[in-house]
Symmetry: C2
Subunit: 388 residues, 2 copies
Amino acid sequence: MLSANELQLRIFRLQEMLSEKGVHAALLLMPVDIYYFTGTRQNAALWIPADGQPILLVRKSLSRAREESPIADIRPFPSSKEISAILGQEHATVGMTFDAVPVQQHAYYSKVLPGRSFVDISMIVRELRSVKSPYEVGQIRNSAAKLSSVFAEVPQFLKAGMRELDLASEMEFRLRRIGHEGYVRMRAFNQELFGGMAVSSGATSYGFFDGAVTGKGLSSASPQGASLDEIRMNEPILVDFAGVFNGYISDMTRMFVIGSLDPELERAFDVALEIQEAVRVAMVPGAICEDIYQQAASMAGEAGIGGNFMGMPGEQSRFVGHGVGLELDELPVLAQGFSMPLMAGHVVAVEPKFVLPGKGVIGIENTFVVTEHGGERLSDLPDAIVSI
Amino acid sequence: MLSANELQLRIFRLQEMLSEKGVHAALLLMPVDIYYFTGTRQNAALWIPADGQPILLVRKSLSRAREESPIADIRPFPSSKEISAILGQEHATVGMTFDAVPVQQHAYYSKVLPGRSFVDISMIVRELRSVKSPYEVGQIRNSAAKLSSVFAEVPQFLKAGMRELDLASEMEFRLRRIGHEGYVRMRAFNQELFGGMAVSSGATSYGFFDGAVTGKGLSSASPQGASLDEIRMNEPILVDFAGVFNGYISDMTRMFVIGSLDPELERAFDVALEIQEAVRVAMVPGAICEDIYQQAASMAGEAGIGGNFMGMPGEQSRFVGHGVGLELDELPVLAQGFSMPLMAGHVVAVEPKFVLPGKGVIGIENTFVVTEHGGERLSDLPDAIVSI
């Protein structure tokens, strides 16, 4: 359970940011945002005035909300007629997270809260959530330790001739048994992910996923992750999974091979490690996200494999790292176009990868927290390609 | 791969419905809707004019979209300045699915498509998708057959003393190995589900999930499904999983017990079977959804357990069945307040369940298709409680 102090600090920081922007109250509807500020994940609406006490209005389950959350004012969801009076009518400007809230919800609250003007506070909420407290860094470190323990078992079950799906199932099974919570939350409305991917020959399939690797998947309805392709000798096998423990996500990738790899892949892997280390060193407060991406892309270019960095030629993603926390796609993003500076407590999965058509995918991924001394690694397992 | 004929028919039916409602074009953004009409699930926008040819604008991956979809006009996503001219300016009224599309997306398209008025076509798209073609019924039957084959294996691995999580992991592992695609799509913006649930003593925990049973889950961040509680002798064990194969979802629940059950639970189970059969018989075209729910609730009331129907007393859900297809929460819903009539080809998971505080959860679930002769069952496995 989240401590009342931790929650109070989160609410206080939001109130400060609302006040700075001249927003009188936040109306939060996304379950993950509500969990962040209350410690309970219910079907609910959370009202946080810039100046005053939060009110949690719960559709389902009121009893569980009251058991789990230290918020003092938790009520059953009111009727449409009552809600305006309950929240108070002195708040002219109300913030909602327009990045994720559907149009119908916005329309409903516009109707039942007449006279307020609604503004987008997606970036406020996402920026606030991107800076992790010591408690949260501890949670992500714990998540990474559990995830690492299963990665360490791969040599026990990886065999030539098994399908990508068999390898993925073994990872998923072991992760679940040690408490992986299963569902991996993503915020972007057109993204979805099931756990991760274990891919070899299907790895170079391109797809919708905002990453270097999508995987072939099992059908055109679910075109992502492991496929029915067999894992063969001397092919790069990329295992990329998200850990989800007590809500907190860690993300890592390791490479495996049964036999040995093409020297070009090995060389690209070395470049990926060099990029990872350069990014790690650069991860200090004040560093600009896109500068770090540009540095990584330049290193790939200097190594002669710039066209293979972060995706198939023509299908490249323009990033090298993404924030993780309660969602897989949090801020900051080490990407082209992101001019925000890093802050101490940002947690980023750094994942330089290369796609070499005809040869496969190679790369590394670890989760780091930004500190004054550069990125501190939270996923503690050797990076080297594991040869079986 | 979806046949061009199947897709053509879907597009034609949408165009008819748009014309009837005076909507000049649909702009579809939800990946699952785009898949339904194109046969490819990409990060894209799909334009379907009431009168004319569809255009698929693809952010990622253009190559995969072209490989998978028979749609003739597939293009890279245009710049903000080009999009209005590409789609044509003669469409004054444009439909979007306001139930699922975020406010930011709506704002973006309002800006780049000036002069159009945007209207909500959520119900048009959901109603259209709710009526399954013979191909789709075949897909759901296949999904249910695979799901049933794993339910049939439960006696091989269910043991007293294992945790709910161990039972769930075994189900998930076996389902994955036969091709379960993992991610279970839900449309409602505040719902989420990981696969299903295997619950015994944790079953009576209440929670956010729009169902009779939520499960305790592993933490307050993921308060749903299996917990770390041990499965004990003589307790009802409820196993409720969704199958996802080639995108299509089937849904079923079976009861297990190691030893024997309290006679009150057995009696409630018999009532659940009677309700299931009454609902099945009532599932003919023209029957009104909420009438069927009311009939089910009355039967529970007459048996003296109306207060335990579909949830803990005080936490009851007011439904007895939900549509399934590419999403777990499709139309129709056999629920209070749903006055729509059933149509031939509607596919519904019927799930009468009872929560008896202090004793546990008991019930049944099968997936049926509406026909002139009542519901035809797609999940072919005996209903009886399996005693081990």
